[in-house]
Symmetry: C2
Subunit: 247 residues, 2 copies
């Protein structure tokens, strides 16, 4: 945890009082004392520092922190994600890792090779997935929570929802190890937002690829090596970020 994050409603008169895992982190990991300064941010709000004004170092842990929040939230990450719903254990890791890397919206969609049972996972409830997003923000010292949208049916997603979405993006990329374009040949230094679609284990089926093509997506590859979805998402995010920074 590289920043203590709090809801706006938890702050009263510039004072934040903690009595949960954050207080425990301050006591046991940071080993803070009264008067110490910490990185603090408000979820979807300002960032800055806090000075500890009271501390209960024994269980039940608690801490009071006086806030000075003067930094605006970071800019909206330029990348949004369409992700064929992965199995829950993998989704957890992906949510915190892509949040740490920076992502605007994550669209979780159905696909032919997505197991139906994945849609019944408790993890798809906001109160269940939100801690994993928070974990990514706490890691990366960010306050901007990604938006999660669920699309349990592929056809309405691609035919009805996508057309209203794609106009917002400069790049529409479909990741595919056998894609006919190298990512490096497609992504340039242009500004503008990127929408990246990544398939399930086993890949998109040809019908799905065709549907994405009809919406203007380019089939791109970062190489022929077949990667697990969690590895592939990070590798794609990092490759796109690096290629856009080129001079």
């Amino acid at each position: 945890m590289n920043i203590i994050l709090a809801e706006a409603a938890e702050v009263v008169d510039s004072q934040l009082t903690l009595s949960d895992y954050r207080a425990e982190h301050i006591v046991k990991v940071l080993k803070s004392e009264i008067g110490d300064r910490l990185r603090v941010g408000i979820i979807n709000g300002m960032r800055g520092f806090g000075t500890i004004s009271a501390l209960q170092k024994k269980f039940p842990f608690s801490a009071s922190v006086n806030l000075e929040l003067s930094e605006s939230p970071g800019t909206l990450p330029p990348l949004d994600l369409i992700l064929a719903l992965p199995r829950p254990i993998m989704l957890k890791r992906i949510l915190s890792q892509v949040t740490a890397l920076g992502v605007g919206t994550i669209h979780l969609v159905n696909a032919n090779r997505v197991e139906k049972s994945f849609w019944e996972a408790g993890l798809l409830q906001p109160q269940e997935y939100r801690p994993h997003l928070l974990h990514g923000l706490e890691q990366a010292v960010d306050t901007r929570m990604p938006e999660i949208r669920l699309h349990p049916k592929f056809k309405p997603f691609i035919e009805d929802f996508c057309p209203s979405l794609v106009g917002d993006y400069h790049y529409l990329l479909l990741a595919d190890p056998k894609g006919e374009h190298r990512l490096v040949d497609v992504v340039g230094e242009k500004t503008g937002r990127i929408l990246l679609a990544a398939g399930p284990e086993g890949g998109w089926v040809p019908y799905e690829v065709q549907k994405f093509r009809e919406q203007g997506f380019f089939c791109c590859t970062i190489g022929e090596r077949i990667l697990k979805v969690d590895t592939a998402i990070i590798a794609l995010h990092a490759s796109i970020t690096a290629l856009r920074q080129r001079r």
Copy 2:
């Protein structure tokens, strides 16, 4: 498992007989029949296909496969890694993920912020870490096993071992979110090997950074966001790979 991998010693007269998790995979996941062709490779050897000549579909599973191996192993990946020893659970994941991405040698080194107990992990025994490397190869359809080298003392590693190592590389990169160079400004299309050093959670201490600098390493960043080591390694590997493909 996108390729069945076997030791050279397991092959007799171009025939491979399996009775372990690989036979189970052929029966239960691939649902293969006699006559089906599979991707097969020899560890640190050739790749190609195999045709199933016998199959025991009930426990204990077994399969016999006639091999036609005509593809040379892939080229040696251009990247080697120096990694401050991570905690075992993270090391497992890193080993299989970087093997899937492609790596030549992984040097696991001590650092000030590496917990001493990590060096006692059973995972550092070849018979314990090898399955995780194998897992990465099976994922990426590769046969070339990365080499693992352990360096439990930092000073002899950096002062005595590194000087003999660094001459082999065109790029010597030390990853650091606060590095003074952007990775994108340092890594060009040049060929030649890359040695990438990634620190522990909390980063290298200044003494360690200074020692790497003395060996000719450049302190590079892919951005200010602080990432967990497993996320950072994949992101760095992918960024470097993308930047070297530029035209």
